[in-house]
């Protein structure tokens, strides 16, 4: 469904002297991967390794330095702006920071309805129908009617995250990018969100591109996983393979550093009691 071929992204350096530039920063280095329809694809890696940058590239919010990205065979970089707009109706994203990605001066209703307004040529609806659709989404993600006209700051982190998901679902997309959707939540709220995502996938047949620091979460939700390190893809494959038989040194290090919730397996424990 989504093909990423040899993508590189170099951020230009800062201006130096009268004309010169410092050397650019290579955020993505020859990354290739494939996401299959109806499945969840996980991406893990060190912070600052280029995960978010990759999602921005997919949405054409950054221009690629080299390589191409095909969505259902069409090169995203070559689409006209109208085609791109059409595509964006089908390809939605939930951003890393739930709060920052919601306009603080819009009501929840307006926020969730925004894709419907933008794409009213694709999904023609009256204002009334839109409100109905928003309400339906709201209930789906586990929020309630009375939240409709509140503002983002009146919600807790978990609720905001769910608003972001509702917005992403509004125009009935087929492909969802989730950038650390649970990083700010405590485990119980995180569990609710993960369950919702799973239910939606089963009901609507969505495809997920899932980014997280939490390897447990990746393992739980994804079918395939890729590990990225300093802009380079170091390893990818089915979840079980990577977690049970990591081939790469960095992957192994990550897995080792994963804190285990079982106190008996703590590396420090013996010393403390000793």
């Amino acid at each position: 469904m989504l093909e990423i071929n040899n993508v590189s992204k170099i951020f230009p350096g800062q201006r130096k002297g009268l004309f010169g530039h410092t050397e650019g920063f290579k955020a993505l280095d020859d990354v290739s991967l494939r996401v299959r329809k109806g499945k969840s694809f996980g991406l893990v890696g060190e912070s600052g390794s280029g995960k978010t940058t990759l999602t921005r590239c997919i949405l054409r919010l950054e221009t690629l330095t080299s390589g191409n990205i095909l969505y259902e065979g069409a090169d995203i970089g070559k689409l006209t702006s109208t085609e791109m707009r059409r595509l964006r109706a089908r390809l939605q994203i939930v951003f890393q920071d739930p709060y920052a990605s919601l306009d603080p001066r819009m009501t929840i209703h307006d926020i969730i309805a925004e894709p419907l307004v933008i794409h009213r040529d694709i999904v023609p609806m009256t204002a009334r129908q839109r409100t109905e659709r928003v309400l339906e989404l709201l209930l789906q993600v586990g929020l309630r009617e009375e939240h409709l006209f509140r503002y983002p700051h009146e919600f807790s982190g978990g609720q905001r995250q769910r608003i972001g998901i509702a917005r992403a679902l509004a125009a009935k997309p087929e492909f969802l990018i989730l950038d650390e959707p649970t990083s700010a939540l405590d485990v119980s709220v995180q569990a609710d969100v993960l369950n919702l995502l799973h239910r939606l996938q089963e009901e609507l047949g969505l495809t997920y591109f899932f980014i997280s620091h939490d390897l447990g979460v990746i393992r739980y939700i994804c079918d395939e996983v890729a590990v990225i390190y300093r802009g380079k893809l170091v390893e990818s494959g089915p979840v079980e393979d990577i977690f049970e038989r990591p081939a790469n040194e960095y992957t192994r290090m990550l897995l080792d550093a994963m804190p285990d919730p079982d106190p008996d397996r703590s590396p420090f424990r013996q010393k403390v009691s000793a």
Partner: protein
Amino acid sequence: MILYTLRRLVLLIPMLIGLTMIVFAIARLLPGDPVALAAGPNATPDVIESVRQEFGLDKSLPLQYWAYVTGLVQGDWGVSIFTRRPVFEDIMTFLPATLELVAAAMLIAIVLGIPLGLAAAVYRNGLVDYLTRTVALGGIAMPRFFLGLLLQLMFVSWLDILPLSGRFPLIEIPPEGPTGFYTIDSILAGDWYSLSIALQHLALPAFAMSLSPLATIMRMMRASTIEVLQQDFVMTERALGISNTKILFKYVLKNAMTSTLTVIGLYVSWLLGGTVLVETVFDWPGLGLYATQAILSQDFMPVIGVTLVIAMIYLVTMLIVDLLYGVFNPRVRYT
């Protein structure tokens, strides 16, 4: 940083060229004809015509501009059509007075404004806050010429502790020196009597002029201090036992200075361009009066000259402010 400064200085040139063009256009497109007036009452048409030629005002606008700019490059700022004095010379006699006034006003504003702003922020919504804000707002809210008149009435007519107007007593010889600032020149000459006299004359106009920047600096300082005080690192500093005074005067002040700096920079130009009213009331022989006189009599060259000088001072001030940003904020890189 040197490279950065150089580049900024190089960039000044196109700015100044643009500036001369705009000002020239403004000045020359004004209706009214100063020539008839300059030639004097009862001048015959041929005299008027000869004056017109003398000042090259019979030529086309681009030609006049070209003549002006070529003159400017050679240090010739043109001649006033009324006084026929060279504009540059005139500006140089008036500029020190104005600069001294502006500098004194800014000094008062900064020296009082920053601590008061800090205090208002620390005692937010308390007595100190209300007091300083009310006083400062009072300062802003008073038209400057009216304030000047009231100050004169109070300190001169009633209390009789300060001189009425001017820079120096008429029948005494003001101190001479390289800066043209009477205060600094008398310090340089070690002439304490002149210094005290000069300061007495400076007090009222500088105070009248300082109120509005004082209030703005104070409020800016208050706002940014409040913001900085809410930053997490202040909590950390407190948690690690650093004393409140040290936090305020060392750690918070430097953070809060950035936005205040911008205001200070902007005010320098604002004051320079707006000294007229205070200069009128206090008969301060400065650039503002010179410029107003020139504008009212449509004397082009002085208007253009004054504008250029003020613009240059503004641009240089902004450069200094930008460089100071770097001192206060290490994240600013000179690139």
